[in-house]
């Protein structure tokens, strides 16, 4: 029985002012609707232009469950396509990245396509003469996704042809990407290695919510970060220098008061970040030579402004998190209602000391790897939630911490850092982007 399909009202009813119904996490029908509506209505991260440095370079990705392919054309432009041959549907590229040369060639019947997607050649082409082939979609080549924006080398795409513009969708939230890029003395980031991949047996939204959940680190991570702090205290002897590893783990155990004052900023359309005034990344040791490079590049005032902005986690709705201060992007890729692939990328700050890249790589394997003890703590909680939510005793998830009666949706605000308002913000956006292309259907049915 279909409860939600095509029924915008029943979907919207899953989100109350400060509660959400458990079906958003566990109902396969809701997941299907997310794939058919929410992801195509949203601007989704595809990849980074540094992965497409040369003409013919490509990356593969998914938007929701749609396989896509991004390529660098000979004129330098970047294109995103659905990753299937227009002939029989065979995937054009299966590797995560590579260089295809001057054209893509389908391995099945050797149809070939220019790197802007247009049809280049078909063997034995005369077999299509007089068949009406010229009027078919196949003649157009690879199906192109028209709405693609490359913002400071970050490639985003919106599958649906109409919808919210890139500028309106992200608005001021792009300031986190700006800050991450500005941290390179050359104003440039690059990806030079594969991401850490980690399979999660839980709904993708649990991961997204957790990025701005500041009341869990000192509880859930007592076992990992807490133990790291304890072991270091015992073993440090007369050492005066805190190892990089302990600098990274330690701040997770900061008390509630720290997170309260550090603040959360929310933006329209479900974006938001923790760590406004300061963050768990604020007190890492200085890396020799870096400040000098930044001052030389930007001048003292601007350099201090860039490095003084030490945001914690920025959620870009629907499914990525960016950590500007340690140059990490986590992509929460939905696979099924209870399965999420997390790919955690590290960007190298071009022109900055290697020590910063070393630290970002260390952070990534400490927190985001299948071998990460912090990851083990979190995944255990998600798995328990995925199971526990099947309970019929109470079918609502409570997001009421620091709720205010006059809260407005889709505004910019800075609030107490332990508020659950960013989660409410995400779910407001969730209901909006789930149903925005359903309204007409609903009206027509009435």
């Amino acid at each position: 029985m279909s409860r939600y399909s095509g029924n915008a009202r029943s979907i919207a009813a899953l989100v109350r002012e400060a509660e959400v119904h458990r079906d958003v996490y566990i109902d396969p029908e809701i997941f299907d609707i997310e794939m058919e509506h929410l992801f195509p209505n949203s601007w989704v991260y595809v990849g980074h232009a540094s992965q497409l440095a040369k003409p013919g370079d490509f990356v593969t990705a998914t938007i929701g469950r749609q396989p896509v392919l991004a390529s660098r054309h000979s004129d330098g432009s970047i294109h995103v396509f659905y990753n299937r041959c227009p002939h029989k549907g065979v995937k054009i590229a299966t590797e995560p990245c590579g260089n295809t040369g001057k054209f893509f060639r389908c391995p099945y019947h050797a149809w070939s396509f220019k790197t802007d997607g247009s049809l280049l050649a078909i063997p034995l082409k005369k077999g299509y003469e007089g068949t009406g082939f010229g009027d078919t979609e196949a003649n157009e080549g690879l199906s192109r996704i028209k709405n693609v924006v490359v913002y400071r080398d970050f490639i985003f795409a919106r599958l649906n042809e109409t919808g919210v513009s890139f500028e309106d969708y992200f608005g001021q939230s792009l300031s986190t990407i700006d800050n991450m890029v500005d941290r390179s003395p050359e104003g440039r980031l690059e990806i030079v290695a594969a991401p850490i991949r980690y399979m999660h047996t839980c709904n993708w939204k649990m991961l997204v919510e957790n990025q701005t959940d500041t009341c869990h680190p000192m509880v859930a991570h007592e076992s990992s970060a807490g133990t790291a702090v304890k072991v270091w205290k015992r073993e440090q002897g007369d050492s005066t220098e805190t190892p990089m590893a302990v600098q990274l783990y330690g701040p997770f155990m900061s008390p509630y008061e720290f997170y309260e004052q550090s603040g959360i900023r929310i933006w329209p359309n479900g974006h938001g970040h923790t760590g406004v005034a300061n963050s768990i990344h604020s007190n890492y040791a200085d890396v020799g030579g870096y400040l000098g490079q930044m001052i030389a590049a930007y001048g003292e005032t601007r350099a201090n402004e860039i490095l003084g902005e030490v945001r914690h986690n920025t959620v870009y709705f629907p499914n990525i998190m960016v950590k500007g201060a340690v140059q990490i992007l986590r992509n929460f890729i939905p696979i099924a209602v209870d399965k999420t692939l997390v790919e955690s990328w590290v960007y190298r700050l071009v022109g900055a000391p290697d020590k910063l890249y070393e630290r970002a790589l260390m952070y990534n394997r400490f927190i985001n790897a299948p071998t990460s003890i912090v990851g083990h703590d979190d995944l255990e909680m998600y798995e328990r939630a995925q199971e526990g939510l099947k309970s019929n005793g109470n079918q609502w998830v409570n997001l009421r911490r620091l709720f205010e009666r006059d809260e407005q949706p889709d505004v910019i605000a800075v609030i107490n850092g332990t508020s659950e308002r960013q989660m409410r913000n995400q779910f407001h956006a969730w209901a909006k982007f789930m149903t925005m292309d359903m309204d007409k259907q609903v009206e027509a049915a009435e």
Binding site: I196, V342, A369, P370, T371, R384
Partner: protein
């Protein structure tokens, strides 16, 4: 005098300590500057400026071992167990005079927790040094055949 059998016996003993969850005994096999490394690239050369799954010194390995027994370590309720099935180690170097001992061991590793059971295949490369007349691990490198696949939790040691 360390002969090839001593190197092989060490590797079997290490697997036994892990399989019987004698974590402290396992840590004692490491040199104070020893490292445990799980690369994330094929034939990876650099553990520091290339991404790895793990690259940990004794301090971090102690954190892991202590965490496994923690009262509030919920990802260990229930506890994980592991099993190492080792091929006979291939001795790469065994030179007491030079103090160089290296071996490479093909393995199948199983980790289980509750109703879950996961299998991994790969190669363990040991690099030893002598402290007195005892072998100690300078580097244990664990290369998975599918290092680039997305795994769930790997909580114990290969």
């Amino acid at each position: 005098m360390i002969d090839e059998k001593a190197v092989t016996d060490f590797i079997y003993r290490e697997a036994e300590l892990l399989d019987t969850m004698q974590w402290q005994g396992w840590l004692d096999l490491f040199h104070p500057e020893g490292r445990y490394w799980m690369p994330l690239e094929w034939q990876q050369q650099d553990p520091v400026l290339q991404p790895s799954l793990m690259y940990e010194d004794l301090l971090l390995l102690k954190v892991r071992v202590e965490r496994l027994a923690g009262e509030r370590t919920f990802s260990q309720k229930p506890k994980s167990r592991c099993h190492h099935l080792l091929q006979a180690p291939q001795i790469v170097a065994c030179d007491t005079a030079a103090g160089v001992f290296k071996a490479r061991t093909s393995y199948i590793y199983t980790e289980t927790r509750g109703d879950m059971l996961e299998r991994y295949s790969g190669w363990a490369s040991h690099d030893f040094v002598l402290i007195g007349d005892a072998l100690k691990i300078k580097l244990k490198r664990v290369d998975l055949i599918n290092f680039d696949a997305p795994f769930g939790n790997i909580q114990l040691f290969m």
